[in-house]
Symmetry: C2
Subunit: 473 residues, 2 copies
């Protein structure tokens, strides 16, 4: 990350955290230049970035201020999971979420679906069609177990943006990020092993740990800086942890981007205690800042980081194409992939490789990042307007998920049941915890462009929460 | 199965087994009618079927004879695996087989690839293309975890042909048969558990057992009637077996179809010892007899059979679409599928459903069955001509794989290494055994239409074997 982005990051976090309040004057360009030992123009670039993100407003001749109109909602509290390994539950709740067929009559704010209506995706559909029409029929064959060479080449090129210098031989194509994560976990862990996870954490991984007979050790996680390194170190000291699984970039569900210094410190911890890191970067390309954040993998020197990702959030989930860069665990991951699905489907690999090669990926990303950032602001406004006072809301730095915290004794399972009758689905918080915590939280998807219909749905969610809260009292 | 097919089966087996020798007169129509209590026309139909299969030749006014030209090669011997649970090895050899990229310069007789050059497959490519061109973009979304409703409807209809009466709710679409098998195994077994398997057996399943920390108990298997029920019963008596995994129809690699009575008896055994049956039917639709054989699942009344299959052998492997009918294990299989790949890709599901619905599947199957049966005869002839005397060869009743047995101390690992330099690849036998038996066997694919190039390859394999044999002596 360049100097000015780093600086903007830091200032942005202070503003988001309420260190500077709306209307406050921000430090002068000269003061920051001195404080951080950077040039005046670097500070100016940083301020311009903050301005773009709506976090700073210039006043002629008086410097930069926190915008007055900015009434940032309170952030969710840091979770307080039980600091011991637990077995995972909540499969029935996850099944309820994923059992639902996409349906025009239900507004699905619960699932992890990107917006796939953008015209910038059309070349992908075109490639899928063209490849099927070609007569060589290569698309009907198995390719080899690593995946097609062309796609691996394109992904290796993409990974440079997150600071990774990998070759095609370091990559294995998978059936979505799910398979990347599950093969990685199984490559490292045996039943009974303990995996440390951020908390809240992606429900898919929770269920993998359950399915493989593993235990999760949930680590308290800050909604701005990510997994607590102090708590993690304590846990590594106390328990025979085999791997750390986390989503440091555009975290699901909290939306933060872990600061670079934390990423490096985490890697150092992993080295000291000799554990593997399974890094989920599936939302990383959807960070709202440019250039996109680095991965922990980009600092990895001894191959202990298994980087997992896919095109499910950036392009389309239905194509089921992901990848893993498994470092020193390549052989084990290949074995686990072989016994999970054999090979990955050929035709979508060829189509995505063509889409990337023809240069359609970056313009698509630019468009989606802008759209998602605007949708985040709109969705946050609606939640603040329609949800009961005291609602806490995450401030995602990328992706398209909002994490919402309601009063402590609220039960989002009841909420979901009440909402289904009204054609709305949200994701209850308890599936994001191994031990079923966060029942008072929910995750909402803001990928679609804001419409009156979605606004009404948010309104309904808000009034249903209010009704349930009044019943509780 | 109808009466005449049953009868033809029985006679065919006696001929294949050498009970009747070339030139022998076969029993008269009248005698068989009396012996089996069936009508004269049933016997006549049976003889016509045998005639079609080259096992009987009519002589005007004197009845049916075993064709003189027919010099059926000796069948492989029944394997003698160690009758105790073993851990699985050979991953390095499997990796060698699947690491190879499809390549015009290498004649790959080793892999399980069907012929995908048939014009009867064109409608599938058309559907794949059309679905991508449509503007609703449904193909880019996740469907629900069961798979698309339309495809499950079509598969439920197909399954009637193998005697199964299932509904869409009994089916889960998977990423190839690999995922069907792996989710089934994991739905039932915990690490350390014992699974009984036919021997030789599909190397994919061997590696799954290895990957999940399970033990395999290899059961001796007859090249005509399949897994030995006596040996299996003994094993069930002695060991806490959790599941029986086998491929009763068009077995891979032996090619037999287990007689119906054996299938029923196997199910009864499974009921008595309360174990699950994981039935691989991936080659079942490619049986050379019509109608296709029934599955064990078709007799299943208490949901203990998990039927696994895919379109990888009948249509194309690269589309990665399979299914599982998990019976009473549905919930567990759904969980295992969710954590393995999430959902299955949407677009190929829609395309295959369209291909089936428009009636393209049956004509395609008819064509492929005929082609594979003719290729089997051609490949068998070549092996008998070019391989050393004493070579034993399977007599596949469906599919496109030949199992070849060489003298006991021959090593097909050395053979494969010697062949690779000559641009030929075969599958060494040891990967088909948990304990690495069958090193003196190999499996060859005869899916492609016979060409001079393939004949030359078989010739080269034969002469290389002869050379290695002479070096051994």
């Amino acid at each position: 990350m360049t100097l000015y982005v780093n600086l903007a990051d830091l200032l942005g976090q202070r503003i988001e955290n309420g260190f500077y309040r709306p209307g406050d004057r921000l430090p002068s360009v000269r003061a920051l230049s001195l404080e951080h030992g950077v040039s005046l123009s670097t500070v100016q670039q940083a301020y311009r970035l903050l301005e773009d993100n709506g976090l700073a407003a210039p006043k002629p001749k008086s410097g930069y201020f926190v915008p007055v109109g900015r009434t940032a909602p309170a952030l969710p509290a840091v979770g307080r999971p039980a600091l011991r390994p637990v077995e995972i539950s909540q499969w029935d709740q996850v099944l309820e979420l994923i059992r639902v067929v996409p349906n025009k009559d239900v507004i699905q704010l619960g699932r992890g679906m990107p917006d796939i209506t953008s015209p910038t995706l059309k070349p992908l559909l075109r490639s899928l069609a063209t490849i099927s029409r070609r007569q060589d029929m290569a698309s009907l064959y198995y390719d080899n177990i690593y995946g097609t060479h062309g796609l691996r080449e394109q992904i290796a090129r993409l990974l440079l943006d997150s600071g990774c210098q990998l070759t095609t031989n370091d990559l294995v194509i998978t059936t979505g990020c799910s398979e990347a994560l599950s093969t990685s976990i199984r490559a490292i862990c045996k039943p009974g092993d303990i995996v440390a996870v951020d908390s809240p954490s992606f429900h898919g991984v929770m269920q993998m740990l359950k399915g493989f007979g593993l235990k999760a050790l949930e680590i308290p996680t800050d909604p701005i800086t990510g997994i607590s390194l102090e708590a993690l170190e304590l846990a590594l000291e106390q328990w025979p942890i085999k791997a750390i699984q986390l989503t440091p970039n555009c975290n699901n569900p909290l939306g933060y981007i872990m600061p670079e210094a934390h990423k490096k410190a985490l890697l150092t911890l992993a080295q000291r205690y000799d554990v593997a890191i399974i890094e989920d970067d599936v939302y990383g390309d959807l960070a709202y800042t440019y250039p996109r954040p680095r991965t922990i993998k980009s600092y990895d020197e001894d191959g202990r980081v298994l980087l997992c990702s896919s095109f499910s959030k950036t392009l389309a989930p239905g194509v089921r194409i992901g990848w893993v860069a498994p470092g020193r665990y390549l052989e084990q991951v290949l074995h686990m992939k072989y016994i999970s699905t054999g090979c990955t489907a050929t035709q979508p690999q060829l189509a995505i490789a063509e889409f990337l090669e023809e240069g359609h990926y970056e313009p698509h990303l630019r468009r989606m990042r802008g759209q998602y950032q605007r949708s985040r602001d709109q969705m946050t406004d609606w939640v603040m307007r329609y949800f009961p006072q005291g609602t806490r809301v995450s401030r995602p730095q990328g992706g398209f998920m909002l994490w919402i915290e309601l009063p402590e004794d609220f039960d989002t399972l009841r909420l979901n049941r009440a909402l289904l009758g009204q054609g709305i689905q949200v994701a209850g918080g308890s599936i994001f915890s191994a031990a079923g915590k966060y029942r008072n939280c929910l995750r909402m998807n803001y990928a679609s462009k804001p419409t009156a219909e979605i606004e009404n749905a948010v309104k309904t969610v808000g009034s249903t929460i209010a009704r349930l809260l009044s019943e509780t009292v």
